[in-house]
């Protein structure tokens, strides 16, 4: 292992505090009143850090906040100009360095989808890009996939290093922290202690074992053609989607859903143009001012969600826009299973009704 340190359980808080000295550190942590409700929170002493638990919402809000100001505007009264006021628009911002510590490989990998769109498309998104450049991802090799996980089915796996700058490998009394990228190496230097040969060996074994593990059945990465063939099969979509409530839960907890809306929120003489999470499952997402809606019901909307992740994104960027974290399945109020929908796309017999 190139650059690795050992981080005893007992020194975890110390390490997080050390990292917090020059960065915002985001860790999965239990809520004060609900310890099993694990979300990414800014590290602070006393926080109940839960590296062992799967977080409810992905870490996407670290790079893509639920709501952020794109620009601010102020109207300054000035009767010498015809409009009676001058408008000042300001898009300056400061982005602090950040560390996401202890996310799962799927969370880190989710940002590869964002990168394709926000960094490698025809226009580069500066807000995302600045955060991306200043954020280090430390993922934990995952040993507790549940019934909703399917990372292997989308070409990833519980030890996937893609998108991570460093990896944590859990041992009985602590973690081996291994650098993957330069940025990761810089972080590893700041914390932990020199690992023993046994610890390195144990970490290697665990990494090998996790690397061989298959989470989720089959492969869902080559469904582009099947999706297009199924596009107008109303019975198929109704069969799977009639139970959908058309809420935005699946998209909000998803590490790869990046769709957003832009709105102006003003009061008095000043305001902000903000970008906030939006969901393709909401009717307003595509509702035009004329009243026309190209995706008028949950069936078209869910079809677009499936298509975006498993067909459109594939034909545009050559990869699926899904990291297999299973959150949309695990937390769906009515257990809509996107795996089952995608898996059934090429199935010819009528298994759906």
């Amino acid at each position: 292992m190139e650059k690795a340190v050992f981080l005893p359980d007992t020194e975890l808080h110390e390490a997080l505090a050390a990292l917090s000295a020059d960065a915002q550190v985001w860790v999965p942590a239990g809520d004060a009143s609900k310890p099993d409700l694990v979300r990414f929170q800014r590290y602070r002493p006393g926080l109940s850090v839960r590296l062992d638990a799967r977080s409810l919402v992905s870490a996407k809000e670290v790079l893509f906040p639920r709501s952020e100001a794109l620009l601010r505007f102020v109207k300054e009264k000035d009767l010498s100009v015809p409009a009676g006021h001058r408008l000042h628009v300001d898009d300056t911002r400061t982005v602090p360095p950040a560390v996401v510590f202890g996310c799962r490989p799927c969370d880190a990998r989710g940002f590869l989808t964002f990168d394709r769109v926000f960094l490698q498309g025809p226009y580069r998104d500066p807000y995302y890009a600045e955060r991306r450049e200043k954020t280090t991802f430390v993922s934990l090799v995952c040993r507790d996939a549940d019934g909703a996980c399917f990372c292997s089915a989308v070409g990833s796996g519980p030890a996937d290093p893609q998108g991570s700058d460093a990896q944590l490998i859990a041992l009985p009394d602590g973690y081996v922290l291994r650098a993957i990228t330069q940025r990761g190496a810089a972080l590893v230097e700041k914390i932990g202690r020199g690992p023993t040969a046994e610890q390195i060996q144990a970490a290697r074994d665990m990494l090998d074992q996790a690397g061989r593990e298959m989470v989720g059945e089959g492969s869902l990465t080559a469904m582009d053609a099947a999706f297009r063939a199924r596009f107008q099969d109303a019975a198929f979509w109704h069969g799977h989607i009639d139970k959908c409530l058309s809420c935005g839960l699946c998209t909000f907890v998803c590490p790869t859903c990046y769709c957003f809306t832009i709105t102006d929120e003003a009061r008095g003489l000043s305001g902000e143009r903000i970008r906030s999470w939006d969901a393709c499952m909401f009717p307003h997402f595509t509702l035009e001012a004329s009243g026309h809606n190209p995706r008028p019901s949950k069936v078209e909307r869910y079809r677009n969600r499936v298509g975006h992740k498993f067909s459109y994104f594939v034909s545009k960027y050559g990869q699926v826009a899904c990291c297999g974290c299973g959150r949309c399945i695990r937390h769906c109020p009515v257990s809509v299973d996107i795996r089952a929908v995608v898996r059934d796309l090429p199935v010819q017999e009528e298994v759906h009704a």
Partner: protein, 280 residues
């Protein structure tokens, strides 16, 4: 290429001022906008068919086609029909008011490929706006194009946009056919729906490209009518509309399959439309 959409921050509008407002119809206003930075205004380049996002700070942004031609660059012209939140706010603006502009965005009409061809424009209501930019480009470069026929219809004479320009178009050699849905006192042009007038006029598809824009129901019948007249799919161009937010292919709502109307459109040939998933 000089471009007003900032490379550093494509979300940041350039400041402009409304130089002139023209009340086209009871619910359509035309805005003539000048960018506040004279250098930027001088360097501004675009192709016919490209769109811009207009900002009313405090209300929001909306997408409109730049309907002045690239050949006339003293101002950027946008026509706005009052329908939603932003368009209502735009209609409340006055000459001299500041406005934000993010332009040019999207693709454009293939002007070079149209050279030497006869052209048929079929427009309805506000749908004349995207056609006007191309029409005036052709008028200004008249000798490069063959016959130009325009079939333009609206519900009533007062719903026709750019009425004050019709004489100039005709003087430039445009065969302008105007129609309204029913008889009106004093109306001496054609009466009837656009597709009907199209069938009566029946411009030959030989060496001709048809460009159509208007309400969806009109488009539907115009496309059928053009087919009837013998136009092939790649001889028909149209522009699509979608709800848009970012205008730069990121926010994810204006897609039709993997095609994003904001960056891959708004101009599409009928051939392209047929290849898309059917989700209009």
């Amino acid at each position: 290429m000089p471009n007003v959409v900032s490379k550093n921050n494509p979300y940041l509008p350039q400041m402009g001022t409304i130089r002139e407002i023209i009340q086209e119809t009871p619910n359509i206003k035309t805005f003539r906008i000048v960018l506040d930075d004279p250098e930027q205004m001088a360097a501004f380049r675009f192709e016919p068919g490209q769109v811009g996002q207009l900002s009313v700070f405090g209300v929001g942004e909306s997408t409109f086609v730049i309907n002045s031609p690239p050949t006339r660059r003293e101002y950027l012209q946008f026509s706005v029909m009052k329908t939603g939140e932003v368009t209502r706010a735009l209609h409340r603006l006055c000459e001299g008011d500041p406005i934000g502009v993010r332009a040019p965005l999207g693709n454009s009409f293939p002007v070079e490929a149209l050279k030497g061809k006869d052209i048929l424009f079929v427009g309805g209501g506000i749908g004349m706006a995207p056609l006007r930019t191309l029409l005036l480009t052709m008028v200004d470069r008249r000798e490069e194009f063959g016959d130009i026929t325009v079939i333009y219809g609206a519900r009533s004479p007062q719903d026709l946009c750019y009425r004050y320009e019709f004489d100039q178009w005709r003087a430039a050699g445009v065969n302008l056919v105007l129609t309204v849905d029913r008889e009106f006192p004093g109306w001496e042009e054609r009466v009837g729906f656009v597709p009907t007038v199209l069938a009566e006029e029946a411009p030959s598809p030989y060496n001709r490209v048809a460009i159509t824009c208007g309400p969806p129901i009109m488009i539907k019948f115009v496309l059928a009518g053009l087919k009837e007249l013998g136009y092939e799919d790649d001889q028909i161009l149209t522009t699509l509309e979608r709800r848009m937010k970012c205008g730069i292919g990121l926010c994810g709502r204006c897609n039709i399959g993997d095609t994003y109307v904001c960056v891959d459109g708004p101009v599409f040939s009928n051939t392209q439309l047929r290849q898309m998933v059917s989700e209009l």
